[in-house]
Amino acid sequence: MGRVLHLAGKVGAVFTDSCRTAGAVFLLLGDTLRSMVQYRLRWDQIFEQMYFIGIRSQVVVLTTGAFTGAVFAAQVWFQFKRFGMESAIGPTVSIAMCRELGPVLCCLLLAGRVGAAMAAELSSMKITEQVDALRALGVYPTEYLIVPRFLALVISAPILTGLALVTGIGCGYFVAVKIFGVDGAYYWDNTIKFTDSKDVFIALIKSFIFAIIISAIACHKGMNCPPGTAGVGKTTTEAVVNASLCLLIVNFFLTVLLNALLYSN
């Protein structure tokens, strides 16, 4: 009985702690949105962050998109050729890339690359009193540090996802048509026929929401870093892990919701 109570206590503590953290992340998100309206936007910083997030992430995102599309096309070909359904590879690859693989993989990479950088940078500033120095100089940290990162990520993530989709679908075509000899005309015709603009919309809206999740969690972790250099490492790891897990969980609910909303008829 004692063990059961002890276990229940631990589970309860984890649950309340998670609720508290989620509440704090939502409060930070609300503060970020309020700061975007209340203060002037620092476009120089937003562009600087967009360069880091958007331009500097292109290679890794495009490579991931390309090989995901290529591998998926190969796998689908191996399965579909048994039933003589090779011409269905195109729409299968394109719909899977748009609805799931493109936004999820692209944003998981962004959580790793950009989320880690955000959390590490902000937590370093926090432990070296730079965040306090900002406040001492009359600058609101949310406005100066978080808003540019948040906006840069929510603008860049859908664009990067779009690029990942294009390269993924393109590489899927290359593998299916040029390597496995699927008829190119059928491939494109079926791809265009069965891929809806709603599929692309799903990709973009998902990556937009994932970008909000990544930036909110990474910035929250960074701004609440425990003192000491060990805190920076811990914060960075937690930011990436929490953002990735949250992204995967939210993806499930988004899939259900968006399908219900967009394909209810």
Binding site: T128, E129, Q130, D132, R135, A136, L137
Partner: protein, 248 residues
């Protein structure tokens, strides 16, 4: 000019300040001494509005600052400068950009005016010619002086110094102490210096307050502190550990 009235503050479940009262007059230099962890830095953060007290209030120029929102605090923060223990220069910005930062935030856009004011502030702290350096390229003492230049560039009415000489060699520490004195005289700034360096305390303080167990335990001129017969104050001033039960 600045007054702390019955300030109470807990950190990590422990009450570190238990009713601190402190008054600083115009152009007065008050040094707060006390053992490590006694709440000296917390007190400065409360004055700056970086922390909020659980009880008591901070009154600046007759205005009660406690309970103000972040936005309401900002005009007062521009009148109060702070030198952080670790200098807290923005490490992604050059020395010039660090010093120009508060001026730009206050709306100064002319590059010529910024160059002129930054050069003047750097000259005061003897760092002329370091405008293009990054904080990582500066020594500990230079970082402190650059941070001091950033804090004084918008001419605050009161300066808060958090352990200004900690971690510096005696020569550099002496230069910082002289700078604190010089700035006070030059601009008529009041100062609160938090330190456990008694050399620094004697040199820069018009008045020294000893913070012990969350309260101002003793207050007096440097001379009165040196001749105080209270065992707690005497042991701290002389650096004796016997009074707290540690005897090698």
């Amino acid at each position: 000019m600045l007054e702390l009235q019955g300030i109470r503050k807990s950190m990590g479940g422990q009450e570190v300040l238990r009713g601190v009262n402190l008054r600083v007059g115009p152009a007065e230099r008050v040094v707060v001494i006390g053992r490590s962890g006694c709440g000296k830095s917390v007190m400065l953060r409360l004055i700056m509005g970086l922390l909020q007290p659980e009880a008591g209030s901070v009154v600046f120029e007759g205005k009660k600052l406690t309970g103000l929102s972040e936005e309401e605090w900002n005009p007062y923060r521009r009148k109060i400068g702070m030198l952080f223990q670790g200098a807290a220069l923005f490490d992604s910005l050059s020395v010039f950009a660090n010093l120009a930062f508060p001026l730009r935030e206050q709306g100064e856009r002319s590059e010529e005016v910024l160059r002129q004011k930054v050069a003047e502030a750097l000259r005061i702290v003897s760092l002329s010619g370091t405008e293009e350096k990054m904080p990582a390229e500066l020594s500990g003492g230079m970082k402190k002086r650059a941070a001091l230049a950033r804090a004084i560039i918008s001419r605050p009415e009161i300066m808060l110094y958090d352990e200004p000489t900690t971690g510096l060699d005696p020569i550099v520490a002496d230069s910082i102490n002289r700078l604190i004195l010089h700035l006070g005289k030059m601009f008529g700034m009041a100062s609160i210096v938090v330190t456990h360096d008694m050399v620094s305390a004697r040199m820069v303080g018009d008045r020294i307050s000893y913070l012990h167990e969350g309260k101002i335990y003793f207050e007096g001129t440097p001379d009165q502190v040196d001749h105080c017969q209270d065992p707690l104050v005497r042991d701290f001033v002389r650096g004796h550990a016997e009074g707290i039960g540690i005897t090698g």
